[in-house]
Each structure stands twice: as C-alpha cells, then as structure tokens.
C-alpha cells in the first residue's frame, strides 16, 4: 500500500500519461486554423476600410489646417499711390485728374483728413475751395468756374472723407473740397453756399 503522497504523485503521472495519449485531434486544429484565417481576412478588410477612412480624414484635416494657415497669413499690402495729372483745355485753365493707382505714392486720405480736423492752423496746410460736383460716367468732376476742373476716379472717391449724401449720385451740387499742401484731395463736404463765378 503506497503512502498518500506517493499515491498522489503516481495518480498525477498516470493522468499526464493518459492526457499525452489523447491530444486534440488534428481536424480540430485545422478547423480552428481555418476559422482564424477567416477572421484574419475579415480583420484585414476591416483594417483596410479603417485605414482608408483614416487616410481620408487625415487628408481633410491637413487641407483644413493649410487653409486655416493661409487665412491667418497677413494679406499682402498693396500700396496705393495718389496721382494727380495736370493739364488744361479750352474750357478750363487747369484740369487735375485725381486718381489712385499702385504706381504712384499717395498718403492715406483718411489720415490727411484727420490731420485737417485736428489742426488749428489748417488753413496753412489745407486748401478749401468750393466747386460744383457732378458725376460723369465712371468718374466724378468738381469744377471751379472756368479755372479748375478736378476729375476724381471712383476708387479715390471711395477713400475720401465725405458724407453719404454727397456720395450718392444726384444732380450737380455745390461742395467744399479740401486739399492738402500737396494738392491731394482729402475730403469733400456739402457747401453751405454756391460759388459765384465771374463769367457764369
């Protein structure tokens, strides 16, 4: 009769021996392998779909980032220059064509007007004249009797300090136009009185 310990040891040995004689049949291994292969194929398809979606998402995100970056970039400053072309014709002794372009340097009219408002001695720096404002097709004109004709292009007009009432297209009206020391227009205001021309 063996001791309990000996019996237990022998029992375990017998069990292990018996287990070794009965391994999992190969057909079960095969069935598991086939099932895992199916799973793997399905997984790969899932991964591919996931990768494709991820790639799309990544591209969209990158595009959004680029767009956001471009929008954040400071817009290139296009410097506009005030241009005055002088001439004369039969009717006017002097014709001034005021316009803005990217070719010639110009001060910002708003700043000039602010200077005018702030200045107590503006009479030295600015000229105030009264003239008749009228719209002619794509440009505006201010005529001062037969002495002076100012043509103002619409782009410059948009930058000038002037009340909305003056800006509206309407019949010719008397306005007071203010020029700086360089002869550049800085503001146009409604005139309180008409100009009396000696020849008109």
């Amino acid at each position: 009769m063996s001791t309990p310990e000996q019996f237990d040891r022998e029992l375990r040995q017998q069990y292990q021996h018996d287990k070794a004689l009965h391994p999992l049949p190969q057909q079960v291994h095969r069935a598991i392998r086939q099932a895992t292969a199916r799973q793997r194929a399905a997984g790969k398809a899932r991964n591919w779909r996931f990768s494709w979606r991820s790639a799309q998402l990544a591209v969209c995100s990158a595009l959004l980032l680029v767009m956001a970056y471009l929008l954040q970039l400071p817009q290139p400053v296009t410097t506009q220059y005030y241009q005055v072309l002088l001439s004369h014709n039969e009717q006017y002794r002097q014709v001034q064509q005021h316009s803005v372009s990217t070719q010639v340097a110009a001060d910002t009219n708003a700043t000039e007007y602010q200077h005018y408002i702030a200045s107590t001695q503006h009479t030295e720096q600015f000229h105030r004249q009264i003239g008749l404002l009228r719209q002619q097709q794509q440009e505006w004109q201010i005529s001062v009797c037969n002495d002076l004709l100012l043509t103002i292009d619409t782009q410059l007009l948009a930058q000038l300090a002037m009340p909305k009432a003056v800006r509206q297209p309407q019949p010719p009206q008397w306005v007071e136009f203010i020029s700086n020391s360089r002869g550049q227009l800085v503001a146009i205001q409604p005139a309180t009185q008409a100009l009396l021309c000696p020849h008109s």
Binding site: S2, F7, Q14, H22, L24, P25, A31, A35, G43
Partner: protein, 191 residues
C-alpha cells in the same frame, strides 16, 4: 509599450493566458490564439473525452474554440482564463449530453453506492488491463470531473467555479474519488 507595436508578430513566451487572450481580442493577434490552443487544447480535449467519448469531445472542443475565434464567447476576467475555458466547455458538454438524453444517466451515476456491483466487474477488468483510463471511467461523472480537474491543476475553488458546486461538495467528491482509486490500487497496480 510603443515597441510592442512593431513586435506584434512575435509573442513573448512568458505571456499569461489572460494576456494572450487580450492580444487576440484587442489586436486580432491570431498567433496568440494559436498559443492558447497549444496551451490548453489537449487538456480540454482530454477532460471532455474522459467525461464523454471521443466524438463528443472533438465536437465540443471545436465548438468552444470556434466560439472564442468568432468572439461569441467572451472571457470577462472573473476567473483565470483556463477556469473560464473549462467551465464553458463543461456547460457545452452538459447541454450536449442533455440534448442526446445522456445526461440523466450520467447524473444518476453520481451515487457511487449504487454502482458498487457494476464497479466490481469494471475493476476486475481494470486490474487486468491495468489501465488508468478504465479505472477513472468507472467513477461517477461528478467525481470523475472533480478528480480530472484537480489532476489538471485546478484548485478547489476553481473546481467549485467550473462545476458550479459548493467547495464542500467538491471536496467530498474528491475524497470519494481518491478513496476509490486508492482502494482499488489502480495506480500502484501499474508499478
């Protein structure tokens, strides 16, 4: 951790069954499942075969592993993976035995006293053949499964979990089974 991403193909040999299962489920690592099969496939099949027959054991083994492959059975980590696996297999086996109307007879066989006369004949054969398998097959279903599970390395608590029986019942079944085996000197007879 980050490097493990590049080593998905190879598995460290010291990974636990629970870690292997996790690798299979979360990383679709088929080699982890294959390693689980190689760890427990034979033991499970052996247990099922001793509790039923070769065909049924084969069928239930396959069912269990395929449930795992298809994620139809999910290990929740409330016990060890091996305990859970054997528990699932036992349920499948009992369901199948019930379906085949073989469960009732297996349950009745739980009472060893009723079997004494039968056993005497079987033991005679066992002594002659000196086969462990024959002797263990002579045990009633419940005692046999308790003893098989203990020999497989499960603790009393784990056997209790697998068989859904109180530990005291398991202990008593083990005592009867061991007494029976020792009494008939099945093991020493092999020497």
């Amino acid at each position: 951790m980050a490097l493990s991403f590049f080593w998905q193909g190879s598995i460290a040999p010291d990974l636990s069954a629970e870690q292997l299962y996790s690798r299979y489920v979360h990383h679709a690592d088929v080699s982890a499942l294959e390693q689980l099969v190689s760890l427990y496939g034979d033991a499970l099949y052996h247990f099922l075969q001793r509790q039923s027959d070769r065909a049924l054991a084969e069928d239930i083994s396959q069912q269990c592993w395929l449930k795992l492959v298809d994620h139809k059975a999910v290990f929740a980590g409330q016990s060890s993976f091996k305990t859970w696996l054997f528990s699932m297999a036992r349920h499948c086996l009992i369901d199948e035995l019930r379906r085949l109307k073989r469960w009732q007879s297996q349950q009745l066989a739980d009472d060893i006293a009723l079997q004494q006369s039968c056993l005497a004949e079987q033991l005679q054969q066992c002594r002659q053949n000196q086969q462990f398998a024959t002797l263990i097959s002579a045990l009633p279903f419940a005692q046999r499964e308790a003893l098989m599970l203990q020999l497989e390395g499960f603790s009393l608590t784990e056997i209790s979990q697998i068989t859904a029986q109180p530990p005291e019942t398991v202990k008593s079944r083990l005592r009867y089974a061991r007494q029976f085996m020792q009494q008939h000197n099945a093991v020493s007879g092999q020497e």
